[in-house]
Symmetry: C2
Subunit: 202 residues, 2 copies
């Protein structure tokens, strides 16, 4: 073995020991996570649907409540339902972005319907993963009372994983979440004059 690969081996062994030690520190082994995907970048909803795919791979039943732009997700819905319609409870109850509808009362009513559906799904004992897509938008525009939503999320069953997506997650939501990821745009093709691409963005 050369000196270079010896050094590499030593460095990597040290790193593995560190990783193993970190893993051993973890003590809580089964917990329904409250996950938040926020930020102005791409991938917030897409990563949530990737989690749905994984959950179905584990044989879980999942729920999706869309608080907005449901019309862009029909491909994902069709595919997830093809994997087992009885395993997927999908409800698109948002009526699009508020700047599309321009009617606050209608936005609030739509958010309320979506939230009631979310509460109903949270009460279903066989559901293991619930995606509340774009809930952050409804909270940001105060279409729903933040306190009510926070209280219900905190009181979720211990074995229910929840993913909340959307820009501008409220600090109160981040405070109660287990895992928060910010999707940050580093570079975007729109800036270079390239349109949204079918199959990738819708």
């Amino acid at each position: 073995m050369s000196e270079d690969s010896e050094r590499h081996r030593f460095k990597m062994a040290k790193r593995k020991a560190l990783q193993d030690a970190r893993l051993a520190e973890k003590t809580v082994s089964a917990k329904g996570l409250l996950m938040v995907h926020t930020g102005a970048g791409k991938g917030k909803s897409t990563a949530a649907f990737g989690l749905a795919l994984r959950a179905l791979g584990h044989g879980w039943r999942i729920g999706v409540v869309q608080f907005g732009k449901g019309q862009w997700m029909s491909g994902e819905r069709k595919m997830l339902e093809a994997l087992g319609a009885e395993k997927v409870a999908w409800h698109t109850l948002g009526e699009g972005f508020t700047w599309e509808t321009q009617d606050r009362a209608r936005d609030e009513a739509a958010a309320r319907r979506a939230w009631e559906k979310a509460l109903a799904l949270m009460a279903e004992p066989d559901l293991r993963l619930l995606i509340l897509d774009e809930l952050n938008i409804a909270l940001r525009y105060e279409h729903l009372p933040l306190d009510e939503v926070i209280a219900a999320l905190v009181a979720r069953r211990p074995d229910l994983h929840i993913v909340v997506t959307g820009r501008n997650a409220k600090p109160e939501l981040i405070a109660i979440a287990d895992l928060v990821t910010e999707m940050t745009p580093v570079k975007h093709h729109f800036a270079a004059g390239v349109k949204a691409q079918e199959g990738i963005e819708f």
Copy 2:
């Protein structure tokens, strides 16, 4: 209509006009995007598999080459293949993280095998989306020559979308990419002593 909702309506109408104007500015309508999911946060690979789900929803044929940790993605693979095995070319050719294998020559050979498979898939004319999972790791550890990878990605077919995932994306890759998203960890349950959760993280 109350003054408040009038003001809301005006604000939202202005916003919609701005959105519409931005959309009209986009001129390039069909382009295979080079996308990069990087950063230390969650969701890089998961969002890529969410894109795979969407692509299958559009009837596309997709490819996946895993440069690492393939063993954690068996649920996703099983589910995507269940949607049409003939539509999914999946190759797990990485041998795990370098700090697991502790053998540089083996890491390089594995990366080379994975890259050759990626090149072969890029040459298949009916493939529309190719996921190069954890390629960033192989580039970071110089298991592959960066120049060679960059040149091949730049020379991709104009209708092929490629997603490259992994931490520490090289600046040279970011420079040639159309869409770069950094997944930034804001909060992580590991810090609170909660282990990786089955069904969510693997």
